[in-house]
Amino acid sequence: MTRRRWADGRAFGLRVRLLLAFALLGVTTTAVVASGSYFQARTVILQQAQDAAVMSLTDQLAQIYPLRQLPPTQDDLETLAQRLSDREGYAVVVYRDMRAQGAEAPDLLTPQLRQSVRDGVVAWQRISVSGEPVLLIGTQLELDRPDGASLPSGLEIYSVRSLAPEQQSIDRLATLAWLTGGLSLVLAVLLALLAARGVLRPVRELGRAARSLGEGRLTTRLSVRGADELADVARTFNDTAATLERQVGELRRMEADARRFVADVSHELRTPLAAMTAVTDVLDEEADRLPGDAGRAARLVSQETQSLTQLVNDLIEVSRFDSGTARLALDDVDVAAAVTATLRLRGWTDRVHADLPPGIVARLDPRRLDVIVANLVGNAFRHGADPVSLRLRAEPGWLTIEVGDDGPGLRPEVLAHVFDRFYKADTARTRSEGSGLGLAIAWENARLHRAPGQRGSLTAGNAPHGGAVFTLRLPRVAADDVEETR
């Protein structure tokens, strides 16, 4: 859920960035290339048209040479204009105030052009006449003098021709440029998508694999394709995962070995302890009759044999939880009666304020309930202060038992470790007060009670008025075989 939202929130993810970069690159390149070639082509086309026009004008003028007389008459000008006009354009001939035009058209000559022509230059100008490009070329005829020099004659000849065909070519060119640009943009986007896919798929796979690894599936590996950087990353990932798997496997083996060792040692200790325990009663009975030190020694041996037996039993119990061989022996139990029995068997009935509503029946392992309650109450006596209270409550599907005391409560640093094995909150505490496994075993026993969708729990906390409170919560109907969900 969280991951999904996070992924969707990536406005500038790798894919988008790649797309943008490719599109930008495509557009820029196309714009530069297309506009460059467009302007180049446009210049070339216009230049060619212009050169052709100038050439044609000078060719025609060469045929008209020599001018017979100066100044020309109006008729001369008209004739000249007619002769210089053709399909592609018409001519305008000007001499001083006289003017002749080869076609019916408005006067298009601009003062700048005329000035240039008067100065003796072959001048040209492109103008636009009602949206249509028009090329104006002007020159001044020269007079050959007998000495070979030539003089400006004052006769100005202008050629006016439309550039519409060239404009069409240029327009086609522009359209083509746009089209090319558009196509290349589409191509760039497609390429970007392809590249993004190529990059993102391995990245996604890598992400998936990393998550899977993080969830504890240490056999996760990536398939390495190609020899690029991503393949390198995949290979590194695989190496890391393999190392991790090996090391975790090693650690697990070592841990299993250690646990098996504890279990084996405990089992081995049981036989001598069984022999010793069998005769502790004999020792106890004889201790009173033995003189002085011998009697004390006998009592000590008996006492410590029992402590050692308790410790070994607890160790075996713990190792059975660790190996997953602990099983529930379920029975339908009146919980109030069961708790009362636990307190009575240990002589605690008068020391505990028990609030036990009758009629709460639950399906649980009575031996384990006894172990839990005895541990909690015993712990309250040892570390808390009287009065110890015990409260049984039933909820739909659950039952809870709270064991509280009037002691100073649990410090936060103790609270975090109170169910740890051999954790001793008080360093001064002596071993004879318990194996140090009691609360850990109680915790495991609580968690062993499972039902579909439910799991027993044991938690520690402090009451508002001070004093520690341990809360046991068990499913009302525990089941024998609930699928292990880890």
Partner: protein, 231 residues
């Protein structure tokens, strides 16, 4: 007091238990293997067998089954591991009760006395019962003579099994919880192991029911316990 046959392979444990039980006034015959134990039973009588489950050679389960075939001698298992599979298998093999090693002598002694009371105590209880034989369907229960017969044929029941059947049939139609039965039959304090009851019920059913999977006499009341009838 009583004749105890102790079958235990570890010598120190055997010696320790023998010492402690002898001090309690029992006559203890201690052997190291199941084979020896069975030989002793054929040669002499015993009131109760204390049987270690982990034995070299013939294992405790097999010894347990053989003893059951010989007769209705009470058997108390010693389980070295508090292993649920061992306990269940031992009870299925016919053991009456079990204790977990290491065990204090007085705990084992208490169990021995309880199991012996089931044997000896029946006659005492029965002696005061003058109500005569009861007939429940095909089952005839004579509390005074401690005889149960089905269709006129006597049913062979071990003391614990008989005690359980008598306890249940005493109040036909009334549900007894496993814990109540543990207190009444096994004399366990509260929070006994209910598998003792379940295993014993299975054994009794196998002897008195026509179809153990569809019991008529001893019915399971799920969530509560067991009930005799109603027929």
């Amino acid at each position: 007091m009583s004749q105890v046959l102790l079958i235990e392979d570890h010598q120190t444990v055997r010696d320790g238990l023998q010492l402690a039980l002898t001090r309690q006034g029992h006559t203890v015959d201690a052997v190291a293997t199941g084979e020896q134990g069975l030989d002793r039973l054929r040669a002499a009588t015993a009131d109760v067998v204390v049987l270690d489950l982990m034995l070299p050679g013939m294992d405790g389960f097999e010894v347990c089954r053989r003893i059951r075939q010989l007769g209705d001698l009470p058997i108390i298992m010693l389980t070295a591991r508090n292993d649920d599979m061992d306990v269940v298998a031992g009870l299925e093999a016919g053991a009456d009760d079990y204790v977990v090693k290491p065990v204090q002598a007085r705990v084992l002694e208490a169990r021995i006395r309880a199991v012996l009371r089931r044997t000896a105590g029946e006659s005492r209880r029965g002696a005061g019962d003058r109500s005569g034989p009861e007939q429940h369907g095909a089952l005839r229960i004579d509390r005074a003579a401690l005889v149960v017969s089905k269709d006129g044929v006597p049913v062979s029941l071990a003391p614990t099994e008989l005690r359980l059947l008598l306890e249940l049939s005493h109040t036909p139609g009334q549900v007894l919880s496993r814990q109540q039965l543990l207190q009444a039959v096994w004399e366990h304090g509260y929070l006994g192991d209910s598998r003792l009851v379940d295993a014993c019920v299975q054994r009794v059913r196998a002897k008195i029911e026509d179809d153990s999977s569809a019991p008529v006499y001893i019915q399971t009341v799920r969530g509560f316990g067991y009930r005799f009838g109603p027929l």
